[in-house]
């Protein structure tokens, strides 16, 4: 597959190995407990799912179980940060970005507190638990808050890098990761800078800006589109806030049209954030791929991905649509 060499992606992008992104969060936390004496890890009765159980087992003195009380957990984390600790709080995205939103807004963000949020179970691929557990709304909920950094990593390596970065940075951070095993497409050497979108594939016909697993699907779609003579640029936009205006505006200018792709609602997510940038910096035709205006459902993860339009074929279709608009 044609990709940028200096991105150091895995060799075989057609048959990549798989691992859940949440494992990268757990690995990152273990590393931090070893290296940073101020890191503490809070959990709301989902330690196994969020992988904070790895910390509980290995560094029990760093682990604080809050029971099923997400709002209290966020406030407590705020207090811990005022006491000089670096708290990482973790639960499912719905129960933190949703349930504890006001605590995140007023205690954490308005207070400018150094709280790190691990939002697990983002996306439709959560699967059979159904709509109540499939978080499709965290990105707008979090990025609307002044001072919040929002990162949606593409695979477990990137999640680990983002977790390590969060501990170094001072200020609130939201990390979005998922439940299912998903392709590992990056390596240790792949560049990762918060706030910088990385161009994994060059092309000037259409830019595909994606985050999470959709980056991989965008690469697959581009590979097939190339055979039809369409050259796509594929951008991994892992940091949704602060967003990389420069890279996005350049892509709009050079490609003349754009498709965004995310495992999240079409409203206010990566697509919304990108639209805000390009409409103001360099307007071009745009299509937003995400979950349409509906709640999720129970089903098998990849079956739901197809059903909800999270597929390489849907990306190809949207690229062709937007190319038509560009030609008009």
């Amino acid at each position: 597959m044609k990709v940028e060499k200096e991105m150091h992606l895995v060799e075989d992008l057609h048959q990549p190995q798989e691992k859940p992104t949440r494992d990268g969060y757990g690995d990152g936390l273990l590393f931090l407990c070893e290296t940073n004496p101020n890191v503490v890890v809070l959990d709301a009765d989902l330690a196994k799912s969020t992988r904070t159980v790895w910390v509980r087992d290995k560094y029990p003195e760093r682990f604080i179980d809050m029971g099923i009380s997400e709002q209290d957990m966020l406030g407590t984390a705020g207090g811990l940060s005022l006491g000089g600790k670096i708290p990482f709080v973790s639960t499912y995205g719905v129960f933190v970005a949703g349930r504890a939103w006001d605590q995140i807004r007023t205690t954490v963000c308005y207070g400018g507190l150094n709280v790190k949020i691990g939002g697990a179970h983002g996306g439709i691929s959560v699967g059979p638990d159904g709509a109540t557990h499939q978080s499709l709304e965290e990105i707008p909920l979090m990025r609307v808050l002044p001072g919040m950094t929002v990162i949606a990593p593409t695979d477990c390596h990137e999640t680990k890098k983002a977790t390590l970065w969060a501990a170094e940075y001072t200020g609130p951070v939201y990390l979005r990761f998922g439940r299912e095993a998903v392709p590992i497409i990056t390596t240790e050497k792949t560049p990762f800078t918060v706030g910088k979108a990385e161009t994994y594939r060059q092309g000037d016909d259409c830019a595909i800006v994606a985050c999470g697993t959709l980056v991989w699907l965008a690469l697959l779609a581009s590979d097939e589109l190339e055979k039809e003579g369409i050259q796509c640029r594929v951008i991994n936009n892992h940091t949704i806030k602060p967003i990389d205006k420069k890279t996005l505006a350049k892509a709009a200018r050079e490609c003349g049209c754009m498709v965004t792709a995310e495992e999240h609602s079409i409203f206010g997510g990566l697509g919304g954030a990108v639209a805000e940038v390009i409409c103001q910096e360099h307007p071009v035709p745009l299509r937003i791929i995400g979950i349409e205006d509906r709640f999720g459902e129970s089903g098998e993860p990849w079956e739901l991905m197809e059903e909800f339009g999270m597929s390489k074929d849907n990306i190809k279709k949207k690229v062709k649509e937007v190319l038509k608009m560009k030609k008009k």
Binding site: G67, I68, Q71, D72, G130
Partner: protein
């Protein structure tokens, strides 16, 4: 209108059938919550067979009593009850958690006949029950509202906010039940976030508190009837249970909270649950 309770032996037999159905649903789904579902069978079955008024052919019947499953993850137990009572064809049970099913992984009342609310985010059900109870009182109706919560779920602040509301507005048509199995996901409730003494907490919140064996259908029937007879305050039943009740290798095992049996485990469970 009081119902004539079933003889204990008969309801116990129904409970066994419900447990078999739960295991079959879960093995077919390949995921789901075995422990809490098996553990709350008597609590839910006693309500439906001995206490509540309802009409399976007309789930929105005006004179029905309401059941809110606040701990939505144990919906297989309620689905099994509804399927056996004819709220929907029993075969629907085998579609649990599959794409397009009327039986979602967590309760969605817009899809499943017999449900009254959508739950699955813990801590929200008692407030909903209070609201229904207030509406009933405003309309001068005698219908009752029951709400089943987990003990881990008691960690949620909203439960205690709702606890104050129900006592403040003297919602004696509300009856809460806590499935007191001493387990949540991360471990024993007293290790994760101590709750005891839970009864004293509810008493301090001005609720009528009843403790009983949550697997004894006669004791549960008495408790529900006491709740109905209690005027001027809401009642909470602290039902002592064994998580995973009925299947030896699931009983009291924290790891069986959110797990479904594989084929071999399923067959073993069905042998234990045979009549």
């Amino acid at each position: 209108m009081a119902k004539k309770p079933l003889p204990k032996a008969e309801l116990d037999k129904i409970c066994k059938q419900l447990r078999r159905d739960i295991m079959t649903m879960l093995v077919k789904a390949g995921s789901g919550h075995a422990g809490g579902s098996l553990g709350s069978v008597e609590i839910i079955a006693t309500l439906y067979w001995n206490i509540m008024n309802f009409d399976p052919a007309n789930p929105r019947w005006d004179e029905r009593d309401y059941f809110i499953l606040s701990k939505g993850h144990v919906c297989p137990a309620q689905y099994a009850v509804l399927g056996n009572l004819g709220f929907f064809p029993k075969d629907e049970l085998w579609t649990l958690r599959k794409l397009g099913s009327i039986l979602q992984g967590h309760p969605h009342w817009l899809k499943t006949p017999g449900l009254e609310a959508s739950t699955g985010s813990l801590g929200q059900g008692l407030s909903i029950a209070n609201g229904i109870a207030m509406a009933l009182k405003r309309d001068g109706k005698p219908n009752r509202v029951f709400c089943l919560m987990g003990d881990g779920e008691q960690d949620e602040g909203q439960i205690w906010e709702a606890g104050m509301t129900a006592a403040h507005y003297k919602l004696d048509n509300v009856c809460g039940i806590v499935d007191r199995n001493y387990l949540q996901i991360d471990g024993n409730t007293e290790d994760v976030m101590g709750l005891d003494t839970l009864s004293d907490k509810w008493r301090a919140f001005n609720w009528n508190v009843i403790e009983c064996d949550g697997h004894d259908v006669d004791a549960l029937t008495d408790a529900y009837n006491q709740a109905i007879a209690t005027k001027g305050k809401p009642t909470i039943i602290i039902a002592r249970t064994t998580k995973g009740k009925g299947v030896s290798f699931i009983e009291n095992q924290v790891d069986w909270h959110g797990k479904a049996p594989n084929q071999e485990q399923y067959e073993k469970a069905m042998a234990e649950l045979a009549d």
